[in-house]
């Protein structure tokens, strides 16, 4: 079995464009959340949203690429360029090693709405334009980035609700570990246009704390009232240790464990499913629970979900490892979250700190049982567990470790 290391990371998020800015935001507990009043006018219950800057597509893409690339595809492309550049994956390596791409993405609603509006107005399929298919398919990220980046290995999109980005990393890890691939660009992307989360808003899962947007997302806090939607994209270059060593690449961290499960429920949080996924990841990593220094929690700031996760963490890890949900700053980055939170975890590992779970002021019965970092903690972080859970009961757990020879 090959060891699997991370040699590049890239991020496009509401708390920064690029790893340097994001690292500073994480360390300083900076929130990227605000209000989009137009959503109230559209009929949303909550105008709270992570404020993700829209890039100037003409700066990044030529005309043909712009015609085919979805909103989240551009975020993914920008993050991928950063990750591949950091890893030093050049054209010769892409040609030689058949570098692949696996990205989590579970919707392309904005592009689909545009296509349907055009169809209803024009009654002519040709007038949808050449890019409609490539923007609306769920594989919009991988089908565009593969050709744009000259990748020649596996090209696969993962739809696993809010675990999509985490599973993308887990599957990339499994393929490299098995020897089927040497290098895979893994990640997650999430659209943030005004149609992207209308169904979620309708379910009443968003926070209504509009009086102070940056305190709205408060995972594990007793006064939490719902999540805040976010998005962007995150990329990680996963590579076999042999490959990284052979080309002298800088190794940022090692992926040592991946566990997955489903719990057989639609939306109700369970403790059984997450616990099994985490147990599988620990077994895969051959690590005891007390080897985990820090848990990047899935906690989205919903009353029931955070309680279930806190119960699982308390049961499996006690009050020992630091726990924080970076969603307190970023909102719930959904299809992207598993990948972005892996990037955040690598940054903390490199910087020697645990990013804060901001807005955690008052624990409830469950969250009092775990060691939540309400402020930035300067500490050595060697081994991280990153949790992701999603609708339909899907669960994914990743264990990432500081690289040692």
């Amino acid at each position: 079995m090959a060891r699997v290391v991370i040699t590049g990371i890239g991020i496009y998020s509401c708390i920064g464009i690029g790893v340097d800015e994001v690292d500073t935001s994480l360390r300083n507990g900076r929130s990227g959340i605000g209000l989009l009043p137009e959503r109230t006018a559209m009929g949303y219950r909550s105008p709270l949203c992570a404020l993700v800057p829209r890039p100037d597509a003409t700066r990044w893409l030529d005309r043909k690429q712009r015609a085919h690339t979805s909103e989240q595809g551009l975020y993914a492309y920008i993050s991928a360029l950063e990750a591949l550049g950091m890893a030093g994956v050049d054209n010769a390596m892409k040609e030689r090693d058949e570098v692949g791409i696996i990205f989590g993405n579970d919707s392309s609603i904005g592009a689909t709405v545009t296509a349907i509006d055009t169809m209803r107005a024009k009654h002519n399929t040709t007038l949808l334009g050449s890019g409609s298919v490539f923007r609306t398919l769920n594989s919009t990220v991988t089908l565009n980035l593969g050709p744009m980046l000259g990748l020649r290995g596996i090209s696969l999109s993962v739809g696993g609700a809010c675990t999509s980005g985490s599973h993308a990393i887990g599957l990339g890890y499994a393929l490299i570990r098995s020897g089927m691939h040497n290098c895979i660009l893994c990640g997650g992307a999430q659209e943030v246009n005004d149609f992207s989360v209308i169904g979620f808003d309708g379910l009443g899962v968003f926070s209504m704390r509009t009086d102070d947007p940056q305190s709205a997302c408060r995972p594990f806090d007793a006064d939490r009232d719902g999540l805040v939607p976010g998005g962007g994209a995150a990329s990680l270059v996963l590579e076999s240790l042999d490959s990284a060593r052979a080309r002298g690449a800088r190794i940022l961290a090692e992926v040592v464990g991946y566990g997955c499960s489903s719990a057989g429920s639609m939306a109700a949080p369970s403790t059984d499913g997450p616990q099994r996924a985490i147990a599988h990841a620990l077994a895969d990593a051959h690590l005891p629970a007390d080897a985990i220094d820090y848990i990047n929690a899935h906690a989205t700031s919903t009353p029931a979900g955070d309680t279930a996760e806190a119960q699982v963490i308390a049961r499996m890890f006690g009050h020992r490892p630091w726990v924080s949900s970076t969603k307190s700053m970023t909102g719930h980055e959904m299809w992207m979250a598993g990948a972005s939170e892996a990037v955040y975890s690598v940054l903390m590992m490199q910087g020697g700190y645990v990013a804060p779970n901001i807005n955690f002021g008052r624990p409830d019965e469950a969250s009092a049982q775990i060691r939540i970092a309400s402020q930035t903690v300067e500490t050595q972080v060697d081994t991280v567990l990153s949790n992701s859970f999603g609708f339909g009961g899907t669960n994914s757990a990743l264990i990432i470790k500081k690289f040692t020879k």
């Binding site: 015609a67 334009g129 050449s130």
Partner: protein, 83 residues
């Protein structure tokens, strides 16, 4: 709209949309090569014509229209047909 006006507007729009130098669009220049069009791009030409001239052409209409002059003739005739 006169034929000359159609040709001028069409040339301006295509140069902008397909990001080519306006001076490259001459009556005898080949449409596909000058604009670097593939079969997918022809769909976008249909969209651009509809948005700028209010007429709908079909992908089949491109058959035999090799130069900008040929294409301008097509658009001009379609505009007049639609009146």
């Amino acid at each position: 709209m006169t034929h000359t006006e159609v040709t001028e507007k069409l040339s301006d729009v295509l140069a902008t949309e397909f990001e080519v130098d306006r001076s490259a669009i001459t009556p005898d220049a080949p449409l596909m090569q000058t604009l670097d069009l593939d079969s997918l791009d022809l769909v976008d030409v249909v969209v651009i014509v509809e948005q700028n001239f209010g007429i709908t052409i079909r992908q089949e209409d491109f058959v035999g229209r090799n130069t900008f002059a040929d294409f301008s003739d097509l658009i001009y005739s379609k505009i007049n047909e639609s009146k």
